[in-house]
């Protein structure tokens, strides 16, 4: 419940800012009217950028992969004479 209250207050603050910006004509009017769409597009872009950057920096740990394969082989060898069927070979 607390998390959605936080998000709601953030949204209310941003819309209050936008309405305030519309009332006092510091920015030209057509600009201020386009701001919400601009922010939504910005947010989508930012999410996509974070996904791309995370993909690029994802660590693969090749040594751990080799150790894992060895562990799998060992486990299969241990379980097979005890009658447990774990293989798909």
């Amino acid at each position: 419940m607390k998390h959605i209250v936080k998000i709601m207050t953030l949204l209310v603050a941003i819309s209050a800012l936008w309405v305030g910006l519309l009332q006092t004509s510091m920015v030209p009017r057509s600009h201020a009217l386009l701001l919400p769409i601009y922010f939504v597009v910005c947010l989508g872009c930012y999410g996509l950028l974070m996904v791309g950057v995370g993909l690029m920096q994802f660590p693969t740990c090749p040594q751990e992969a080799v150790l894992l394969q060895q562990d799998i082989i060992e486990a299969k060898k241990y379980l097979k004479p005890r009658g447990v069927d774990v293989g798909f070979d």
């Binding site: 600009h31 597009v41 872009c45 996509l48 950028l49 996904v51 690029m56």
Partner: protein, 80 residues
């Protein structure tokens, strides 16, 4: 394997950055430029700056809801 991941990640970030710069230019900078500058011919008329994101958002929502309905129908058919 790792190279394919990196290529896809780079492509995604490139697309997102280019969309961001194009849209920023379109919405914020272009109205301040005189209307007979040559740069205006690289950008579509300003009404499209609103239509295209709204249209894309509506298409995305439709796609999501159709997908949810499809999955629900399939699960109901399997149970019956």
């Amino acid at each position: 394997m790792q190279l394919a991941d990196r290529a896809v990640g780079f492509l995604l970030s490139f697309i997102s950055i280019s969309i961001f710069t194009y849209y920023t230019f379109w919405v914020i900078i272009l109205p301040f430029v005189d209307s007979d500058h040559f740069i205006h011919q690289y950008f579509l008329p300003q009404e499209f700056a609103i239509l295209i994101p709204v249209f894309a958002g509506v298409v995305l929502l439709c796609f999501l809801w159709v997908f949810v309905g499809f999955v629900m129908l399939k699960s109901k058919k399997k149970k019956a």
